[in-house]
């Protein structure tokens, strides 16, 4: 998307889209990322807790 704007900077590995596209992608990544960490680190259902038990302890997330 919007390749005319960012071809010049794409090669440097920097942002490759216009600001609104960046914000949408960043918002989605933030929501997904936090949900994942919550699920593995904090969610209470016992099956999730037991499956992720050793990881929670190893990373210092409050467990039990």
């Amino acid at each position: 998307m919007n390749t005319h704007l960012d071809n010049s900077i794409a090669n440097r590995g920097t942002l490759t889209s216009e600001r609104s596209g960046v914000l949408a992608a960043a918002g989605l990544a933030l929501a997904l990322g936090l949900s994942l960490v919550f699920t593995t680190g904090f969610a209470h259902p016992s099956a999730l807790h037991n499956a992720a038990h050793d990881t929670r302890h190893a990373l210092g997330f409050p467990c039990h």
């Binding site: 990322g33 016992s46 037991n50 210092g60």
Partner: protein
């Protein structure tokens, strides 16, 4: 843009999570298993003490005599039917999956932060962000709530989780103010926000509760846990930068 973010986050988390699963297998997991052997009588997850084992065995034998069921009653006797992975390969597999999930989460949060800040995303810059991530989710919370082994007494779980989350958020916001703000007053505010959760204080039990876990195990575990946590962030950051650059759209 969205597919590049998701692909970089997934690949980075997969590689970092698997690598850290190997590290855990040699550092934290043996300590967790050893601590669980002191946990007997708690009726807790994965309890492996001799007393607990013999009690369970007795239970299983009784069950067998009463209803003809086999030894499958052992776990339900301890955990009221809760599923848990079997020790050994199954437990390792689920721990690895949880690691990969956490690492993908860290990688996506890292990407989100760097995109919102408008930073260039390379291995070097992403590792810098990962260092801040470690301070926010590892170092700062550990000052109030030391990484704990199974069998160590602790305050109510929900209150500890709430303090942990608040501390991680405050620390992340404080680091942003201190490191990225131009204004002196904002940096000063950052220092206050950094200290606030520790001045408030983490939830702890009243007095000195007895721990079933020997002190040297607990001390080893705290160090190992922080090292594992730092390594998970560092590798997530490195692979975020690596994949972000390689997934750049082909330019004309």
């Amino acid at each position: 843009m969205i597919s590049r973010v998701l692909a970089a986050g997934l690949l980075a988390g997969l590689l970092a999570g698997l690598a850290i699963a190997v590290l855990q297998a040699f550092t934290t997991t043996p300590l967790i298993l050893e601590a669980e052997s002191f946990e007997g009588g708690h009726g807790h997850d994965h309890a492996q003490s001799l007393t607990a084992a013999s009690a369970l065995l007795q239970h299983a034998v009784l069950k067998t005599a009463a209803n003809g069921a086999a030894l499958i009653e052992i776990h339900s006797a301890e955990d009221a039917g809760m599923w848990m992975p079997e020790d050994g390969l199954e437990r390792t597999v689920f721990t690895s999956i949880a690691n990969v999930g956490t690492a993908i989460g860290f990688a996506l949060v890292l990407l989100a932060g760097m995109l919102l800040a408008g930073d260039r995303i390379t291995e070097t810059t992403a590792i810098g962000w990962a260092a801040a991530g470690f301070v926010a989710t590892g170092l700062s919370p550990s000052l109030g709530l030391s990484p704990e082994l199974p069998g160590m007494p602790a305050a109510d779980l929900v209150s500890r989780q709430a303090w942990w989350l608040a501390t991680a958020l405050c620390t992340a916001a404080a680091l942003w103010l201190i490191l990225r703000s131009e204004h002196g007053w904002a940096k000063a505010l950052g220092v206050l926000v950094l200290l606030a959760p520790h001045i408030w204080g983490a939830p702890h039990l009243e007095g000195h509760a007895e721990s079933a876990v020997p002190a040297h195990l607990a001390a080893q575990f705290t160090g190992a846990s922080l090292a594992v946590h730092a390594s998970l962030w560092a590798l997530s950051g490195f692979f975020v930068g690596f994949w972000w650059r390689r997934l750049a759209p082909a330019s004309a």
